[in-house]
């Protein structure tokens, strides 16, 4: 994993602070998230303290600091979905999984990400789990969906 970050960094020889965001974006793309190890490496490369990198990264919603779960739930918070109650949807998922947006469950199965319009406004409110879209959701419906993934896992596990 470090080597992936290192590879990204080789593309930015002698870079300074101004390259922090593009580097973070590339690292997230290759690793799926921003790890502590990656921050340490980036910090050394750019001469920026880890606390600063974390500060910058948490300012933007796009970065995550834990690996994605096996089931990555993207919750649309675009305008259409917002109007149709996506705030509730998000809250129900968070409650069902006992994690917040941007986090991953301890068993590594689920993660939640908040995204802007994912281009399915006709189906608002929408979530997308590992590429599978679920539309016209209600709080109860979304809880069922989460449960179905949990059951699927339990079945596999046994």
């Amino acid at each position: 994993m470090n080597t992936m970050t290192e590879q990204v960094l080789t593309r930015y020889p002698g870079a300074g602070r101004d390259k922090l965001i593009p580097i973070l974006q590339e690292v997230q793309e290759t690793d799926g998230y921003i790890s502590k190890e990656a921050v340490a490496l980036i910090g050394r490369h750019l001469g920026v303290p880890a606390s600063k990198i974390y500060g910058v990264a948490t300012f933007y919603n796009q970065f995550r600091f834990t690996p994605k779960g096996k089931y990555h739930i993207m919750v649309c918070r675009g305008t259409a979905c917002h109007v149709k109650g996506s705030a509730d949807i998000l809250e129900r998922i968070e409650r069902a999984l006992k994690i917040k947006a941007g986090e991953t469950s301890r068993d590594g199965l689920f993660s939640i990400e908040v995204v802007a319009c994912i281009g399915a406004c006709g189906l608002a409110p929408v979530i997308c789990v590992n590429g599978e879209y679920h539309g016209k959701l209600t709080g109860d419906a979304v809880e069922k969906i989460v449960k179905s993934y949990q059951e699927r896992e339990a079945a596999h596990g046994n």
């Binding site: 502590k36 921050v39 303290p49 880890a50 606390s51 990198i53 974390y54 500060g55 948490t58 600091f65």
Partner: protein, 573 residues
Amino acid sequence: MEQMRANGSAISFEQGETVLSALKRAGIRVPTLCHIECLPPVGACRICVVEDTATGQLIPSCSFPAAPGLSVATHSVKALRARKTIVELLLANHPDDCLYCDRNLTCDLQKLAEELGVRQRRITGERIAQFVDNSSPAIMRDPEKCILCGKCVRTCEEIQGVSALDFSGRGSKSRISTAFDRSLNLSTCVACGQCVMACPTGALTERSSLREVLNALQDPKKTVVIQHAPAISVSLAEEFGLPAGSDIMGLMTAALKKIGFTAVFDTSFSADLTIMEEATELVERVKGGGVLPMITSCSPAWIKFAETFYPTVLPHLSTCKSPQQMLGAVIRHYWADTQGLDKKAVYSVSAMPCTAKKFEAEREEMLVKGAPDIDAVLTTRELAKLIRMYSIDLGKLEPVACDLPFGERSSAGKLFGASGGVMEAAIRTAHYLITGRELENLVVAAVRDGEGLRETTLTLGGLTLKAAVVSGLGSARKVLDEVAAGKSPYHFIEIMSCPGGCINGGGQPRGLDRDNVKKRLAALYAIDAAATLRVSHKNRAVADLYGKFLGKPGGHLSHELLHTTYQARTDLL
């Protein structure tokens, strides 16, 4: 000097000065929250606004340049209202915890609320529950009391060069955090406490050991002793409203006796002991081709800084323990025997101007068979609290002397309280060890008075030694980069973590007022000038300790009890 107007009168200012600094010189106080005098202004909190009488506009005095023709009203109704609103906004999501807060009666925010007449919660903001971080042995962080002034962030980064803390998140989720919101003990924080000095609220405090000390004092099975660092006697007075720079050594000792400490010892004694060990080590390194430059090791935040950021420099550190730990070791492993006490029955407290000393006392390197030599460390602030708790009126006490044998000290040991002091004491003794003669002029002016880098070249017998002194970890980085690169021109370097040394330590009376620090410094120099015993090697109690117990400086027992090792900490973020 040019002129502007404030409250109808002319006041003078220098080119490039801010309105705030001109006002201060004119004796006009305007409150500040985010401003740090020795750093460039950021203008974040706006509590310092004054009214421009020409335009009626409010301008932040801390960042607004003074200009000829400018006329301000510092306490117009408009300015006062604005300040009050700012405080009300800051209080909107602030806990009502004053009664239970470390800063009750000393809090800048509380004081402003009182001064500006805030009498009700007019504005209520959403409060986010956050955990108190008590993971560090030295520093406690209560994020709910944070007003996001950013002073800790700037102190940690710009003065100390550590950057353990920064702003993270955004909008209403903005907070001060370490990298990855880890607890402080897993961060690069070196426990220096300078952020505590800067913080206007109770969001940053030392981790208090008062309760442990009180419990020990009540325990009939324990013999409780205390040592106090060189900087304490010239700083404690301020906590009792006495003028800065008053030396209240005798009164403080009397107070500690009254509280019930069986013995009150002076860490300046073990500063002398440190000098004997450290000067011997330096001479050995110079003559025997050891690792040079040698760097002092009495400042525990500096030690953690080296371990975290300059692991390759660790062989340059003197292996000497700090005076606190040396005295702790001889109290437990020698003094207890002389008193017929069980080692384990001695509860050893130290009063220090420092938060990092709490961290030092707990270091695994400092444990002997799993037990610490120092059981509890109190900062100057905690010491004052302890004295108040016992309702002791310093004015009604007769001064008494510290207990022997660890009460005798040279004024060289006392100088440890100031940046440059260890160097000066070491030079006095190294000169004697090498040449057999005393320095003609004991005052080594080149290393006195100041925070930035100071250097001096000494000729001792046939040896030429280059020495440097620096305080404030941020300022130390340049010197250390040279050492790490193998390009340092020096033989001996003194590094103190806090700007100005222990007199400005992170456990001292709060605030960033350097005027008080200068007065503490002057007090130390006055003590030295008036002293008859001014060199560590003439301290008879130290010589006696070597004769009766330790053997010789740098000897076997010294190495076992008075020297230590360090660890690289590259896993911290």
